[in-house]
């Protein structure tokens, strides 16, 4: 029983991290059809900012957390301005390759100005403690992670349903041109999407840093690859799909780790990706793919 609860929490926290990152990808994709592979570098940028702020400003972890989130929001919005505005409205492949290009540029900038080796940044490590609830011993980080993700999802739902900008984003996912015809500035909607995406990346960054305790140029690539897969499983562009996909992947990964013999741990990723390929063949548009509507003549 204890084992089951521990593993469930494991799955939830894995899933929470994937869901956070996947939501960041999905919100941008739903609005401008861009698969933002540079999202991982936004996370890494948060990590490097943390190193810089930690050295120059303060070691207070709570100030640093705010700083990390702010840095990620800044990076995300800045990327849109500098790189993705030129490919707005371009086809999917163009956007995807641009995002990959941006991702490579950023990774190499980190390499140039940082170091290929990990740089320690341990201010958030304190989040990860083993705590005992009754007879069960769990990691506090996993609880924080799960709770924060759920809160972030609720806040996002509130934003999307109750604010004008949020509504415009939901509407833009369906018919961006019509949203502009209502006088809503396209730049604001897109900047808003990238800001939210950056915010979610910032939260993910805090947890990743709490677990790793160091930054590296490529640190964002693998999480985003997995989050990308989560989006695919859930149906690209669907926000509930991204969350569902994230948690499904978390559960799958933990299940694979439990079910496969210890020695096959390295294959967890392979199994997960194989499942994705199967899902795509079964439902090419993902499980919860959004309905696409266009203002066709009746």
């Amino acid at each position: 029983m204890d084992y089951f609860i521990q593993q469930s929490l494991n799955a939830l926290s894995f899933g929470a991290e994937y869901a956070l990152i996947a939501l960041g990808l999905a919100i941008v994709f739903s609005i401008m059809g861009l698969v933002n592979f540079a999202h991982g570098e936004v996370i890494a940028f948060g990590g490097y900012s943390m190193v810089i702020m930690g050295t120059l400003l303060t070691n207070n972890p709570f100030v640093l957390m705010v700083g990390v989130v702010a840095a990620c929001v800044f990076a995300s919005v800045a990327l849109e301005r500098v790189a993705f505005r030129t490919v707005r409205g371009a086809d999917l492949t163009t956007g995807l390759l641009t995002a990959f290009g941006v991702s490579i540029i950023l990774q190499n900038l980190f390499l140039l100005f940082g170091s290929p080796r990990p740089i320690a940044a341990t201010q958030f490590i304190f989040l990860d403690r083993t705590i005992a609830i009754g007879s069960i011993r769990v990691s506090s980080l996993q609880i924080y992670e799960t709770v924060t993700t759920l809160l972030a999802i609720l806040a996002l739902m509130f934003f999307l349903r109750r604010t004008t900008l949020g509504m415009a984003m939901r509407a833009a996912a369906l018919d961006f041109e019509m949203v502009r015809l209502c006088g809503v500035r396209a730049n604001r909607v897109i900047a808003g999407a990238f800001a939210i995406s950056g915010l979610l990346a910032g939260l993910a960054c805090i947890f990743i840093m709490a677990r790793r305790g160091s930054v590296q140029p490529h640190m964002g690539f693998d999480p985003v690859l997995v989050a990308f897969v989560a989006c695919v499983i859930g149906g690209f562009g669907s926000l509930p799909g991204a969350v569902l996909g994230g948690f499904l992947l978390g559960i799958t990964e933990v299940a694979v780790l439990i079910l496969l013999p210890q020695s096959a741990g390295g294959l967890a990723h392979a199994v997960v990706f194989a499942l994705v390929a199967l899902v795509l063949i079964w439902r090419p548009d993902g499980i919860l793919s959004p309905a696409r509507e266009k203002g066709d003549k009746i």
């Binding site: 790189a83 030129t86 371009a90 995807l96 490579i104 900038l109 990308f228």
Partner: protein, 344 residues
């Protein structure tokens, strides 16, 4: 030239391929005349990339669907060829724990290469049956899945693939003349494919899939053919890679190589074989220059600092700039002979 039943596009294809081959021969000739021996390795690597990029053009270019799995197929072929061709005595040291008697046999270079082509081709066929059914984005996504799966297996089965360690002791079978011949053959085949009925149908379906279907094009079939043909190019590149370097490891067959080759293709222009060749040559030269700068060279007495990551940075900038300002690449839809024709 009346004995071949070729249409005018195909005749032009022959002309274009011949011109590209002359360019390749000129480069090789220049090396033999003025090159230094360390540059042979460099040139060989460029030609391996060229095989891959021309192969990419076959599927990605003609179908206009980005795929990232080529490094996986190249890796599979490289490992198959390497494991088959390495002498038993050597495998006893390099692969002591290999299962299924993999270290208890050896094949001639030719049969090893053919077996590698066969296995990779069959895998290409198996994946292609699914790939050809998917929509554009689906292919990209599943191709990433294939890349990750294959890479995970390379890393996991260290008893066969040695993971990130080197699988060493592969005899050196190919050298510059062989790869030059392969590249020239590849250019002719890729161009012939582009101008063939299948290639034409594929390009038509890329422009307007519904329209092409309505005209009776079996999109599934033409995509499948292109996918398998492309896979064979990657397999050839993998074999050539293993047959020259003497050691292989899993690391080169992953995302970095994928980005490198895809950016070569998009810089030159997806839709043209000439573009694939030009893009490869230009990025290879640019990277060589930057790599030299990276090491901190001494130029006219000034020692420049060592800057890691400059080559990667350049690659990223090329991709972003091409996508933003030149989305159809340098060549667009044109081929090399179009320049000659216009001057007439």
């Amino acid at each position: 030239m009346r004995f071949l039943p070729l249409n005018s596009a195909q005749r032009q294809g022959l002309l274009g391929s011949a011109m590209l081959s002359l360019l390749i021969l000129a480069i090789v000739g220049a090396y033999y005349l003025w090159g230094e021996s360390y540059q042979a390795r460099m040139l060989y690597a460029v030609f391996v990339n060229l095989l891959v990029v021309v192969g990419l053009q076959v599927f990605t270019g003609n179908a206009n669907i980005t795929s990232f799995s080529h490094a996986a197929f190249m890796g599979i072929a490289a490992y198959v060829a390497a494991i088959c061709v390495t002498p038993i005595a050597m495998k006893a040291i390099s692969l002591p724990d290999a299962p299924w008697g993999l270290n208890a046999f050896e094949l001639s270079a030719l049969s090893a290469a053919l077996l590698a082509l066969l296995i990779t081709g069959l895998l290409g066929l198996a994946t292609g049956l699914f790939m050809a059914r998917l929509t554009g984005v689906g292919v990209t996504i599943v191709s990433i899945a294939i890349l990750v799966i294959v890479h995970s297996i390379f890393l996991y089965r260290t008893d066969i693939f040695k993971g990130n360690q080197a699988l060493f002791g592969i005899p050196k079978i190919f050298d510059l003349p062989q790869i030059t011949a392969l590249v020239i053959v590849a250019i002719f085949i890729a161009r012939a494919f582009r101008e063939s009925a299948v290639g034409l149908k594929l390009r038509a379906s890329a422009d307007d899939e519904v329209g092409a279907r309505a005209m009776g094009v079996d999109v599934f079939k033409v995509r499948l053919i292109a996918w398998v043909v492309g896979t064979l190019f990657f397999a050839t590149a993998g074999i050539a890679y293993a047959f020259y370097l003497g050691t292989i490891s899993a690391r080169p067959f992953y995302f970095n190589f994928v980005f490198l080759t895809v950016s070569m293709l998009i810089l030159g222009g997806l839709r043209s074989v000439t573009g694939a060749v030009f893009g490869t040559l230009m990025i290879s030269m640019g990277l060589e220059l930057v790599r030299w700068l990276e090491t901190g060279p001494v130029i006219s007495g000034i020692k420049f600092p060592e800057v890691l990551g400059l080559s990667g940075l350049l690659l990223g900038v090329v991709i972003v700039a091409v996508m933003a300002f030149l989305p159809r690449g340098i060549m667009g839809n044109r081929e090399i002979e179009d320049f000659v024709k216009r001057k007439r």
